[in-house]
Amino acid sequence: MSLGQSATPLGKVTGLGSAHHGGEHWLSERVTSAALLLLGAWLIASLLFLPSRDQQTLAEWLSAPSGAVPMALLVIAAFKHALQGIKVVVDDYVHVEGNRFAANTLLLFLAIGGASLALFALGRIAFGGAA
């Protein structure tokens, strides 16, 4: 919905604020935080209950669907949540429109790059057979 054409008071709020797209970002950041609460608990519990933490044990753990899938979800949720969080900081402190766009774009590339690298590593552990 474009600015200034809203028919309802709620519609007027949507699209305002420093992020310029209303409540979606706010809600999404909380949804990813809830996901990370669960996946973080899973990660800590998994590491605690593994018989050892050498490379072979870790690779076996992350080869099985029960390890690979939650870890892939954790990577995606963590990078998304980090990107959303850093965007809030950038939107708060970078006031020049062009610089803000550049910073947010750079961070987006960084997050997609990092997440892809992590997912590549997980794919290699699960399907590579190099371990």
């Binding site: 490379q55 900081v89 990092g114 992590a118």
Partner: protein, 110 residues
Amino acid sequence: MLVSILHRMTGAALSFAGLAMLVWWLLAIAGGANSYASFSKAAAHPIGLIVMVGLTWAFFQHLLSGIRHLVMDSGAGFELDTNKRFAALTLVGSLFLTLLVWIPQLGAIR
């Protein structure tokens, strides 16, 4: 006030240093025994340990103050007393959980 600022600072630390460590760790596991050995060596170095313990604390501090924010989003906990106690609790809690994770590791570090 302090806890709110810490939420941002720990969030930023986790976003950059934390996720970099996560990616490095996964790549090291994918790379085989030798590549994992060099990761372990770096992590066991005094600087590596400071980073790992620091990130553990940042994780728990961000987690607990994040839960505090979720509770406050619901409109609860805005009374001054409750609010202050909850904020203090995140500081004590993160310290406690960090020690809980790392004290059993002390033996393994030598």
